[in-house]
């Protein structure tokens, strides 16, 4: 147990009253714990410029990535102080973005539910992609509508797609491009929801 005087002498209020740091914003309030503290971004091997994925304000983010044992990991995501939109600020959702990436609930494998099935099964990604391609082709063929009301429409009403507002412009563009070439027209996103 430390000497009482030592304990008092280390007390920040005592140090503030007796030392040079009368405002208590410098040495008076520093402890070994403070001295040992490091920014949580310090371990990053690189910093990548990004944008918050939640609402459409478009706050700037900096993504701090560390390579641990040959594997990259996001160790922190912070507001980008350079952004004229956000000037470094993030809201509760934006500030939680690291967890969006690192949460244990992330899906990492394909899950498959067969018709009338009662449980999820696993599929390889390659097999799933093949099965999906087969279904698109078969459904498109089965539901192809060359004419409607006597006029050419060259489409299928058998395949629909919903989603895009959380995706990138480039992703939306390829979705619209491929589906349109396939003749699918019920292509929608959150914009009218």
């Amino acid at each position: 147990m430390p000497h009482p005087r030592g304990w008092i002498a280390n007390w920040p209020a005592y140090r503030q009253l007796t030392g040079r740091d009368r405002l208590g914003r410098g040495e008076a309030v520093r402890s070994p714990h403070t001295e040992a503290a490091a920014p949580r971004t310090q371990a990053a091997d690189r910093v990548v410029s990004s944008i918050c994925p939640y609402c459409a304000v478009g706050c700037g983010q900096r993504v701090y990535v560390a390579s641990e044992g040959g594997r990259d990991a996001v160790i922190q995501i912070e507001g980008d102080p350079d952004s004229p939109v956000s000037r470094g600020r993030l809201c509760p959702k934006g500030a939680a973005t690291k967890q969006l990436v690192t949460q244990p609930g992330r899906l990492t494998k394909v899950a498959y539910r067969r018709p009338y099935g009662t449980a999820w099964e696993q599929l390889s990604l390659d097999q799933a992609m093949d099965m999906i391609a087969d279904r698109v082709i078969a459904t498109r063929k089965d539901t192809w509508q060359e004419h409607h009301g006597g006029q050419r429409v060259a489409r299928t009403l058998g395949i629909a797609s919903l989603g895009g507002a959380t995706l990138d412009n480039e992703e939306n563009y390829l979705i619209k491009k491929l589906w349109t070439a396939l003749g699918a027209i019920q292509i929608e996103n959150q914009a009218r929801i």
Partner: protein
Amino acid sequence: MAECHPVAFQWVVEAKAGGATVIHVDPRFTRTSALADLHVPTRAGGDIVFLGALINHVLSGGHEFTEYVRAYTNAADILPAEFTDAEDGGGLFSGYDPDTRTYDNSSWQPTGERDETLQHPRCVFQVLKRHFSRYTPDLVEQVCGIGPAEFGRVADAVVAASGREKTTAWVYAVGWTQHSTGVQHIRTASILQMLLGNMGRPGGGILALRGHANIQGATDVPTLFHLLGGYLPMPGPGEDMDTYLTRIPDGGFWGNKRKYLVSMLKAWFGDAATAGNDFCFGYLPRISGDHGTYRTTLDMIDGTVKGFFLLGENPAVGSAGGRLQRLALANLDWLVVKDLTMIESASFWRDSPEVAGGELVTERIGTEVFLLPAAAHVEKAGSFTNTQRLLQWHAKALDPPGDARSDLAFIYDLGNRIRARLAGSDDPADRPVLDLTWDYPEEPGGDPSAEAVLAELNGYAADGSPLASFAQLADDGSTRCGSWIHAGCFAGGVNQTARRTPWQEQDHVALEWGWAWPANRRILYNRASADPDGRPWSEAKAYVWWDEQAREWTGLDVPDFEKAKPPDYLPPPGATGPAALSGRDPFIMQADGKAAIFVPRGLQDGPLPAHFEAAESPLRNRVYQQDSSPASIQYAGRRSTRDQVAGHDATYPYVVTTYRLTEHHTAGGMSRTLSRLAELQPELFCEVSPELAAERGLENGGWATIITARAAIEARVLVTRRLRPVRIPGEGVIHQVGLPYHFGSEGLVTGDSVNDLLPLVLDPNVFIQESKVATCDIRAGRRPTGAARMQLVTSYRHRAGLADEEPRPGT
């Protein structure tokens, strides 16, 4: 705004510190209200009356910005004698067909004459005056429950902060759009802003706050049924290229429509697209009416839609009519869901309320479900377009885990597999797929290059160099451009969206950060920030102006005007497209270059806004004989939506309105799964006033059951003065129940889905659902479980005289 777009709200707080008056009009008192100068509590759905009364206040008091209105709007246009206003038609404009609930707009077309004095009785300005003359402070009190003194404070503040020296901005989110009259809400605000000269000027405008990172971009590119890139419409049945192009108005910069279309077709179909085959225009599928997401839901229930892709969407929670959404998913042949985590739209077959209630039986649901893991934004490169049209690039930081992939990689891979299977097909229907340009350079790891896709959106000149501007586009097939409004985002072969010059190193317009469409312009129609002669309206509001020495437009922003067109330019006879607009016509996407106070084309529910009650409302319409919007879409003829709306029935005496929380994101897939957000808002609650709590025996912290004609849900009770009873003279009190809608059955925190309560009632212009107003009953205690839950709903329906839904085949 402080709740749902907190970081943007810093600018409002800063403006207030600089002397701006901040007014918050909302049924609820929120963090926004707490920081505003004035909170005006209102009844949800009364917005057209509130804004219309401001218009009336401006017009009857002579507060309009006369020079702006005369020069820059269509106020002087003279309407034909055949036009009948809603004032004279009991709420209906001329051209209404009650059988189809649609308008024929032929009687809305201006005669072509103008009266610059704005005195002609049939000029738009005079028609507008009459149209809004009954929208008085008294009417505001009767419809919105806002007293005349409070309304007067708002009216005075808006007028005082408009004119040469000042501007007023209106900021809205889905509180304005999610109504059966949503588009007309925005229209009412735009008329007010035109009259006050607040469009195209710094600090002015009508600013939408969108809720998803790229909802703007998904609209521009777009993943919407009725559009091609850059707001070109989808073709209709039987149209060839010329008839299609004739349908698009030709004035202003739409005069270049053929260049936009041909360049897009060249980007998509490459060398297969030639002048001889109309650049493969015939490859495009044709739409015929409503193919929106709600119509598609009903078509799934009816069995005509077989396969469905859900890419980062969760309609089982996020869309109106959750039960119908889940019944739709359960009637598909196959469903592909791509998301970060398990969501309700993937797991409906085992944990939906319909399975719990016995309406669906897992073993009898034939839907084959593929649930594919998605990459997070840091695991892929790409651009988001924020709510102010600003494209901002996010770089890839690391690879996604396991089998997770970007949607770019998914769609590219799927396209490759489909094309490989169809290779060699002689079916003409397969030509569009096989002729599609689908050869993007791959990054290490095999993903397609997102920058190469962005470069295609930007487009290429005949020599293969990236376009610098849409002004370079040609209609002869020599240029390729995926979306004309994006031309310039890859100018000089440089990804302009990735620019990140710090804000401290540039002026406040910050043109060196990201890239805004079109042409990196930050304020649209900014030529209106100068007077007709090209001088700033005031030094305080100088933004873009004509430099007589240099003979060009200049200023803080990229001028939204032909750079060398002087203010005194007059179009020569026979001029078309941009050349047909004078040097004083700032609204260059309009055929006449004028802002449209009166809209003769393009709106399904009238050329001027008119107040209608929501499809469900405790009040009758005080303004017109028509109660609810006569053009709204209600799918009354469909089996699943028969009698879905309770109208004014007193079985459901209260208003239910929905909203979002700071700590959650839409349908919850990106927030209920995060412990840090889940612990901040762990449970669904309903906000009720102390008066309503007393009336219905609700206890703070206890449970309540909320019942509509569609569903019954339970929520914790939050008794709060944040929701005040609305007092309507002669009607008494109207109570509003507030509900955040983020919850569902998956994730770390779960709860009933509020959107289950809502009907499928849509705005006829944009097919957005009415989420902000429905009627309900609320009672203390938890809801029944299992089959008894729907029995409770049914018992209410019987009391309200609503018919049972017709049974579906197979059930």
